[in-house]
Symmetry: C3
């Protein structure tokens, strides 16, 4: 990746270690704005086209908030029904027209490859906010960013770490993308814990193998977590199963709670989850009794999403080095900065 | 209620007379901004999370507009389907994540108690925009504010007034909350007019009795309005009935129009309604022929909602005393101020 | 039309040539803002109520973007379900309440005449964004503006031109309104190409006849395009047919592609389409193989919609002559201006 300015962000494949380093360095500088220690007007007057052709509250709002925090405006579309696509319009046409309504676009769409297709017709940079089971690069970046921050806080590094991934490793898009990104790092150990039917796809395993990462595969949670620096849990992606009954066979198979954590993990194992976690009794893959645990990073992980998206917007719009010229004070009272962060 | 700054606004129970006085005093100062005599940038850069997990055009837009009028941005969610709640996420998790995307939250949700539950997980103040049949405190405050303004205009006071409430007093959430707030005032007379099946709940009656307010209960409209200073009409809440047929038994029972008003009311009786009024022929609880009547306060009542919500935002974010420091002129031509107000 | 300030924009019937000239002159001045050569804060603090009671991505976002480009905020409603209309509220009431939440309103509604009815209750100017099969004046204005710009670029004029309209001339609202506007011009020739069942309504034909425009009616595309300066294609409005099967009888009847264009048209014939075009194989009224053709004006046409809507907002709010006082630079990098325009 040579330059971010004017580029689309469509896939984790675009990123090398240097590009990732750049994004994370900018994300670090976004923290005072997100924590309301100061604010910036750098994107005052800019318009984000936030096109969510598939419902998603948290990702949609996270993109919109990231843009607002930089001073910009958001024009939003939520849901497929409200689109001319249903009248037979091609994604190319939609892109040509809608891209003239904004300065940058964040887009989610249920179909694999649709965001890249849209980007070919777009006159402004497009950031992929998830295209079906294909890609969700900002999620992968925020996951990796969280890993780096949490490990750095412990004085450690991504190279050489041990990560356990648990749950639906077949349909869970985030573990695929994160695994790909981790192929840019050295000497990582993976423990992949899932029902045999929901195992990590061979394609991803081959990539891990190719760069020399060591992988252990098991269908047992207990007894396999004692070496993990990072424990990455996932939800059974029930919406991708043929029926609810089919999904129910797997929901609740792996559960982490205070007692299992204490008995099986190192004292500094970081707990991650891309959220939402399924907290219904029959699933409950990550119990509430860990909510106050200092190693539970799931909400810091969600917060990091705003920082990553802010970073990408500033990079794509070429303002990453001038943000501070537009700093201004926060006029209202906020206790936000005290409650967030590590 | 000791301080507003950083507090949640969840229930009318939080308010004592002093707190109400504070809100109304700030609301009065919001009028020039709402009427476009000037504008303010006090919340420039602040973000409202406007989370409407149940459809509502007027309340949702009223909150959003109130925040825009103070200079802030709005990130919005409308409808339950677009939420991760359907994937088994707890309200606590939703709150933890979404609250990091804004500086204050306004929330509506169909389930009683849900907004308070959300507030426990939120990292920013939450204002209840209606949680099912439970609470809708900003509506109660705007109703009370309207009563005070309308009576003051006539040189009178809330203490000692006479109010008639008409229609669906059982499911009409607004009359319950307003009654509760009126318990903070002295020597009020209530005339409660409804079909026996839709009578004011005993719990509310007990509260009125406890503070010594005098209550008359009847199922007849005519002949019972002659002493009323305030006539508060409501719609049959058909969506809370088991069937449309069940609701139809009551729709159209009580109707106010020009001729009934003239024959039954004092010349200065103020007509209120929380809106929407059902104007279909079979209901028509408040006839169009009163639309030009100077005592019809229903649209002033709706306008007051913006003032009350502006006041609460400034109080909760601690800017109520500095707003005027951020005043600026209105550049565009507007005839708004001429058409509004008493 | 005497003055724009404070007026509603409900119908093309409001416009005479002078008013059109004014709108187009202001629209021309909007181009540097839309192309991001500079930006303006003239409507900083103003609020657009963007009320779309019928789904529409492009028109809704186009209005919102136009307002954002002028520095204003947008409060939006999309879809009928989220409205109190379903509780029996009259449009008058909805208008009285919602109009106090904004400084100007853009509104779409499925019912003919509904926007004018709403405007009677509104306290701020209302711009019709489409009311069923009745009117969509901003589309007609942007179509006419596109014709003028494209012909001017060729050194020609609207007076005396030849336009061919093709497709569903019965249900296609845009061709009716455009025809009406063209009645303000002199000596125009129309070639109307449609299946006999989807012919231009007699009412429109009578108006064309009245001002002396010459009209040729045919159901054949080939052999009738050789004199056209403007070729205006339309989609079969399948949503207005009793059934999909009924619509399918006409879809695909008239198709334009590179080879048909070259064989039948003059070398400078401008191709227009109100979009969305139906690109499914069975319809495909305007083939992708013309996408790079310099005479294909369909995306410039969509872009012009933003300019027209910006112009109307500035006129209605009385700021058309002061915009440049609020100019400021664009801080972010953009290649937008290079990719747009003729």
């Amino acid at each position: 990746m040579k330059t971010f300015t004017g580029s689309n962000i469509l896939s984790v494949d675009q990123f090398d270690r240097e590009a990732i380093h750049t994004v994370f360095e900018v994300a670090d500088r976004m923290e005072p704005y997100a924590h309301r220690k100061k604010r910036t007007r750098v994107l005052d007057g800019a318009i984000l086209g936030n096109l969510f052709f598939e419902p998603s509250t948290r990702t949609r709002v996270s993109f919109g908030t990231a843009f607002n925090l930089l001073g910009g405006e958001v024009r939003e579309t939520a849901g497929m029904n409200t689109s001319a696509l249903s009248k037979g319009e091609s994604l190319y046409d939609t892109a040509r027209v809608l891209s003239s309504y904004s300065d940058v676009i964040a887009m989610r769409h249920p179909q694999s490859g649709s965001v890249a297709e849209f980007a070919r017709g777009s006159r402004v940079p497009v950031i992929n906010g998830g295209d079906g089971s294909n890609e969700h690069p900002t999620q992968a970046l925020l996951d990796l960013y969280t890993i780096q921050k949490e490990l750095q806080h412990q004085g450690r590094d991504i190279d050489g770490m041990h990560i356990a991934m648990v749950g639906d490793l077949r349909f869970g898009r985030t573990v695929h993308s994160l695994s790909k990104l981790l192929c840019l790092y050295k000497n990582i150990r993976f423990t992949l814990i899932s029902p045999a039917d929901l195992a990590m796809p061979d394609k991803v395993l081959a990539e891990l193998d190719k760069v020399g990462h060591r992988v252990t595969i098991t269908d047992q949670l207990e007894g396999h977590l004692d070496k993990s620096d990072i424990l990455y849990l996932t939800r059974i992606q029930e919406e991708r199963f043929p029926s609810q009954e089919e999904a129910n066979k797997y929901r609740g198979k792996f559960r982490l709670n205070q007692s299992i954590y204490t008995q099986n993990c190192q004292s500094n194992t970081v707990i991650m989850h891309p959220l939402p976690r399924d907290s219904r009794a029959e699933a409950n893959e990550l119990d509430d009794d860990l909510n106050q645990h200092p190693n539970l990073a799931i909400f810091r992980q969600a917060d990091n999403g705003v920082l990553i998206r802010m970073a990408l917007f500033t990079l794509v719009l070429g303002v990453n080095n001038v943000i501070h010229h537009y700093d201004c004070p926060v006029q209202w009272l906020t206790s936000k900065s005290d409650q967030q962060g590590l």
